[in-house]
Symmetry: C2
Subunit: 227 residues, 2 copies
């Protein structure tokens, strides 16, 4: 435990980050690697969800994980402990998000020649990460029940951008005032094409549905898939 590779990312110097994102997407495609950008509030359960998903997806894909954070290696250590896949920690040097050039630095350090699927756990933040294209094959976000069903009203961009929204911690629903129908309606208000799957990373509820989503989207070649 505690023995993970930590990469300190350099600030990007590119003028046109959107172009860098497109270049990265092309590079990933040429390598046959599907990159998922995972965003959420702090504490929504990104790491726990990824560990549970990866352990189910390892039968189907060769997987790597990049854990981005301002500081600490808490998440990468957890992943290294509990998921049997390659993982590294990226330090953003105080930056509140990742862009495509920073993501590329991470991928080069991770090494993707022997991988099919890479998860990038972005910095826990609903605002800034939504504004930057990381070059990922797809974007997903996790909303957790204790945060409340109104989050898509307050953070519109991230819900507009994401193809997949997991509603996590549904095992805690009895203890919170959370209206699932209203939450799904709020998400659909931002992006009517998004796929919404309520899950519990803790109990495993509905994780098989997420696994099937990834199998389908990856085998169909990416973004065109809609469940």
């Amino acid at each position: 435990m505690g023995n993970v590779k930590v990469i300190n990312l350099s600030k990007s110097v590119f003028d046109d980050l959107d172009r860098e994102a497109e270049i990265l997407r092309g590079y990933l495609k040429s390598k046959g690697v599907f990159l998922v950008n995972v965003m959420s509030s702090p504490g929504a359960g990104k790491t726990t969800t990824l560990i549970a998903l990866i352990n189910r997806l390892l039968k189907h894909f060769r997987i790597g994980v990049m854990e981005a954070d301002i500081d600490s290696d808490v998440d990468a250590v957890k992943v290294a402990d509990k998921a049997n896949c390659k993982s590294i920690q990226l330090h953003t040097g105080g930056m509140c998000h990742l862009d495509a050039a920073m993501t590329k630095q991470g991928l080069d350090e991770l090494g993707i020649d022997d991988l099919d699927l890479v998860f990038l756990e972005n910095v826990g933040n609903l605002v800034c990460p939504a504004e930057f294209d990381t070059g990922a094959s797809m974007d997903m976000t996790i909303l957790s029940v204790p945060e409340g069903d109104d989050k898509p009203l307050k953070y519109p961009l991230i819900y507009r951008k994401c193809d997949l929204v997991l509603i996590n911690k549904i095992d805690a629903m009895p203890y919170f005032t959370f209206d699932m129908d209203r939450c799904v309606a709020n998400i659909k208000l931002r992006n009517n094409n998004s796929t919404v799957i309520p899950i519990s990373a803790k109990t495993g509820e509905n994780l098989d549905e997420v696994v099937n989503y990834f199998i389908k989207i990856i085998s169909s070649g990416g973004k065109n898939y809609n469940a």
Copy 2:
């Protein structure tokens, strides 16, 4: 309901925002107004906590609230409904934080001549708001139990900066893996002088302690107070 004043903030044009923050602090002091900058993750319970606190603090102070958000007027509507005090909604125009110049615009729209205490509910974000001095008399943050006890390790700056940390949703402790002692130790690691109060905004547990904190800090003139 739904009838709240919404202010669209303009982007700040000042070169030296730290100086603007100091000017604002002096202005607030001259007006006898104590401004509290409230930060947290999305969904940690800023609005619910503020409503519960304000209803208890109104016996002691004349209070105003500024609810900052990227979009929506969800929070200001809630405050207007449930707390008997002046409140306005500030839209940041996509910005992930408030600075002192934006805060001053809000205060001018709120009107502070008849107030003693103003709460600024910052954008839900643990990263960027910590980097900007709003000119507030003090900074506080709310960490909620479902987010986990490791957050001060992952978002160091906000915990370093805050004088007061409320640990909210302690009524949900039985349903989550959350070590209170470890959480307090992680907070103290960042700022050994911060005051940490576990609360439940839902049940009201320990809110009297927070009320007493504000009475003491405001009567003692601000930042020098340590509980």
